[in-house]
């Protein structure tokens, strides 16, 4: 038990310290009650919109994590060279000097040899570990940085589609205004998930207000139990239901939001017989059919109202039809009767659900929010883990989200919202400011993202340089190849020009979280050096050569404990909140904060200038707050610069230590950004054809033809 009395704890100590939880990526704002140097309680911080003063059971029990009797307090080195599930590492305590000197020597050699031989993987739990580890990887020069570790990913389809269609990591109903939400394997507001504590109250208020909630789920789980209607479904067949609903809406009821489809999607883009856009010869821009002048035009030249959504035309000498015409025809085969045979939901219920969703969408209506007139579409189709944790993850998620886009219920009042995809920034500084923007085809690119593997546009596939082969299989947001049994065969097949030698692990426990533990064990055992930052020894750290005793979230600094906002900042109207994490207690024994250890390693490896440059780029530090040359800054100094750069010199670390969180009101134009931003989203995935061809051009000759639908 940590009974140390830090310098900043005085006699008769009794303090509530504002900070941030780190028991999950939600990173809710907390108040930690410390009495005489011991934290006795953790509560939600009501001054912050991140949690809105609430804390889940896991967060409330964070004390057990911090005061775990098995906490590490000194660096360890294994003495048994053999690694395996049944091997005792034979831990021996060593000094930090020994540990860092040994690690730095290996990293220095590796960086000179081939920096790609380093893999960094980190747990998602501590969101704020993203910048320190990604910047360390960028400075070192390795392309191999993994969140969670090989193959583990909760939302492959969810994050990709949410990014492409909503510029966000996930989606949630606009609880304050939504009247009809249908959940496909999701729990937003009813269990775990992004902004869970905030969403709990919002969802409860929405249900009390009368929002109808339909939960499609194989289990009558926590969300289903609170729903107006539970729709049991065969596991993994959500797309069959969603597509049948879309078919009923478009082809049986004739209900769709034509103005939305014309102005905010690629539905009017002309598609040629090869499945690709028909492009203007000179500009290369996708063309639409001008229904007024009866001629093809580049998409940006005329108003959406004049764009044809249906019909057959000729442009550039080829027969073509608007994407929406193809979509509408494609949907016809997904009849409710067909769907019933696949997903088990009775056809009559499918028709009823589709009719309810279409009716409640109130297509064509508007509402005034804080003086701003906005489209009003109080329906939302929400997916997450359940519907997309299967084969066809992307297609399941996309089919459900298509319901939103058919009725224009995307990032407007009452609809399906991304988590804060656009921000005008703190009024005093205009930072952080981000907003989606169009690519050359007019399709939406995210304004900010969790990392640098952006959902759209996809990179051009190439012979892989990354262990996970993501630069070849460019659509997926994760990869199974870091630790798969056949990874060596794939690396051979695609001529990966190196093999990994060193693994830096931060808190990930792959042996516990990935199903095939023997495969993971075999993979981990192959590293020549594995270093693991951990709070306590785990199944995975038993494969490490050196274990470094980390500080808990109650002992750590972070200037951006919950950023980017697209991960888990509550959506809808209300307040922006920027909380920090600060130490409530000092390190015990020889525990050290990982963020400070990485800075010292950078110095020892001789790459501090690179790390400073990576920090400047990742944090977008400007002017006097930029990190200079190879100067050695402490993590606290960097946090102070980050905060002052974003919120002005009066809002540095000292201000945040006292106040914990900075808040300012959201504007309707930020929350309901889509009407104000000239971007379109793809209801027709033309770009997938090129990606499939490009991948197949590499994999086909090497004996691995790739089916275009994958």
């Amino acid at each position: 038990m940590n009974l140390a009395r830090p310098d900043f704890i005085e006699q008769g100590d009794d303090a509530w310290v504002p900070s941030s939880c780190a028991l999950c990526y939600g990173s809710c704002s907390i108040l930690a009650h410390r009495v005489d140097g011991v934290v006795v309680k953790v509560e939600g911080n009501p001054k912050s919109s991140i949690g809105k003063g609430r804390l889940c059971g896991k967060g409330a029990s964070g004390l057990m994590c911090h005061y775990d009797p098995n906490r590490l307090s000194v660096p360890l080195r294994r003495t048994n060279p053999r690694k395996g599930l049944d091997q005792d590492p034979g831990w021996k305590e060593i000094s930090w000097e020994e540990a860092l000197e040994e690690i730095a020597a290996v990293l220095k050699r590796l960086r000179a040899d081939d920096p790609r031989k380093l893999l960094i993987q980190r747990t998602t739990t501590v969101t704020a570990s993203r910048i320190p580890f990604q910047t360390f990887g960028a400075a070192f020069g390795t392309p191999n940085v993994s969140t969670s570790g090989g193959g583990l990913h909760c939302g492959n389809g969810a994050h990709l589609i949410s990014g492409i269609m909503h510029a966000s990591w996930g989606v949630v109903p606009d609880f304050q205004y939504c009247n009809y939400a249908i959940y496909f394997g999701a729990s937003k507001g009813h269990g775990a998930g992004h902004a869970s504590n905030s969403n709990m109250a919002l969802a409860a208020d929405a249900r009390a207000r009368g929002m109808k909630m339909v939960v499609v789920d194989p289990m009558c789980n926590f969300a289903s139990a609170k729903a107006t209607e539970w729709v049991p479904i065969r596991v993994g067949t959500d797309a069959a239901l969603a597509l049948a609903m879309a078919n009923v809406m478009v082809n049986e009821l004739g209900v769709f939001d034509a103005p939305y489809l014309q102005s905010k999607t690629n539905a009017p883009y002309l598609i040629g017989p090869d499945g690709h856009y028909v492009r203007e010869r000179d500009s290369g821009k996708p063309m639409i059919w001008d229904a007024v002048r009866e001629c093809p035009r580049p998409y940006y030249e005329i108003a959406g109202a004049d764009m044809a959504l249906e019909g057959a035309y000729k442009a550039n000498g080829v027969a073509c039809r608007p994407a929406f015409e193809l979509l509408r025809e494609h949907l016809k085969k997904f009849t409710p009767e067909w769907s019933e045979g696949v997903c088990t939901v009775p056809a009559a219920n499918i028709r009823r659900l589709a009719a309810e969703f279409a009716r409640e969408a109130r297509i064509g209506s508007t509402i005034v929010v804080e003086g701003v007139t906005l489209p009003y579409r109080p329906v939302a189709a929400i997916s997450f883990r359940g519907s997309q944790g299967h084969v066809n993850s992307v297609y399941n998620f996309f089919a459900a989200d298509l319901l939103n886009h058919l009725v224009g219920a995307a990032d407007v009042v009452g609809s399906c919202l991304g988590f804060a995809p656009a921000s005008l920034g703190y009024p005093g500084t205009g930072r952080p400011r981000y907003v989606p923007s169009p690519d050359p085809d007019g399709l939406m690119m995210v304004g900010t993202w969790m990392g640098y593997h952006y959902p759209y546009p996809p990179a051009k596939p190439r012979m892989p340089q990354k262990m996970g082969l993501q630069d070849l299989f460019v659509i997926g947001m994760t990869s199974p190849f870091l630790d798969s049994a056949d990874r060596e065969a794939f690396w051979d097949k695609f001529e990966l020009p190196y093999r990994p030698e060193v693994l830096i692990n931060f808190g990930s426990n792959l042996l516990l979280s990935i199903a095939n533990r023997r495969t993971i064990a075999a993979s981990l055992a192959k590293y020549k050096l594995m270093v693991s930052f951990d709070l306590y020894l785990t199944e995975t750290s038993s494969f490490a050569d050196i274990v470094l005793p980390d500080c808990s979230y109650l002992q750590s600094w972070d200037s951006r404990s919950m950023f980017p906002f697209i991960l888990a900042h509550p959506a809808g109207m209300g307040e922006w909140s920027w909380p920090i994490r600060q130490p409530v207690l000092p390190p015990e024994g020889e525990q050290r904060r990982f963020s400070e250890v990485l800075l010292e390693l950078a110095d020892r490896v001789g790459m501090r200038a690179d790390l400073n440059a990576a920090m400047n780029a990742s944090l977008n530090l400007q002017g006097e707050y930029r990190l200079e040359g190879d100067r050695s800054y402490s993590h606290e100094e960097i946090c102070d610069k980050d905060l002052k750069c974003n919120f002005g010199p009066e809002h540095g670390l000292a201000w945040f230590k006292a106040n914990g969180v900075l808040t300012w009101p959201k504007k309707p134009e930020e929350v309901y950004w889509r009407p104000f931003v000239d971007v379109r989203v793809p209801v027709y995935w033309e770009f997938l054809l090129s990606v499939a061809d490009q991948i197949d051009a590499i994999t086909g000759p090497r004996g691995l033809p790739v089916q275009s639908e994958f």
Binding site: P115, S148, P259, M450, G468, A613
Partner: protein, 128 residues
């Protein structure tokens, strides 16, 4: 009811629907221009010495700079910066005198001292 979706919103609060500020900035500097280029991280290929001093005889945007830089970088490194279509990759961050560049149309200027260009490629992490 039945209000067109694209007829509701007024204004351009994000300033994205018009050309960005850099495009509307004063014309880029014409004529010879001194720059010093600093590469970081994986771009620090063998033989590269930070900084590289370049004189752009008639160049005045990042696009001109990258054309000149191509003679000093191997194709693999260059491919990490610029797409096959010739646009700056989103993983590549370029700072011109401390300000992050929006794209290759960003003007480069010098006033007495060489413009300082810093380039780093951020790692595209997977999973999460």
């Amino acid at each position: 009811m039945d209000v067109r979706w694209d007829a509701v919103a007024r204004g351009d609060p994000f300033g994205i629907n018009r050309k960005n500020d850099r495009d509307g900035a004063a014309p880029a500097q014409a004529g010879p221009l001194d720059v010093e280029v600093w590469l970081f991280g994986r771009l620090m290929a063998a033989g590269w010495q930070n900084p590289l001093a370049l004189n752009l005889p008639a160049g005045n945007t990042l696009r001109d700079l990258f054309r000149a830089l191509a003679a000093h970088l191997d194709p693999e490194s260059l491919a990490r910066l610029v797409s096959p279509e010739g646009e700056l990759l989103r993983t590549c961050r370029v700072f011109v005198d401390g300000l992050q560049a929006d794209g290759l149309a960003t003007p480069v200027r010098s006033a007495g001292v060489a413009a300082r260009i810093e380039i780093i490629v951020l790692t595209a992490a997977e999973g999460g």
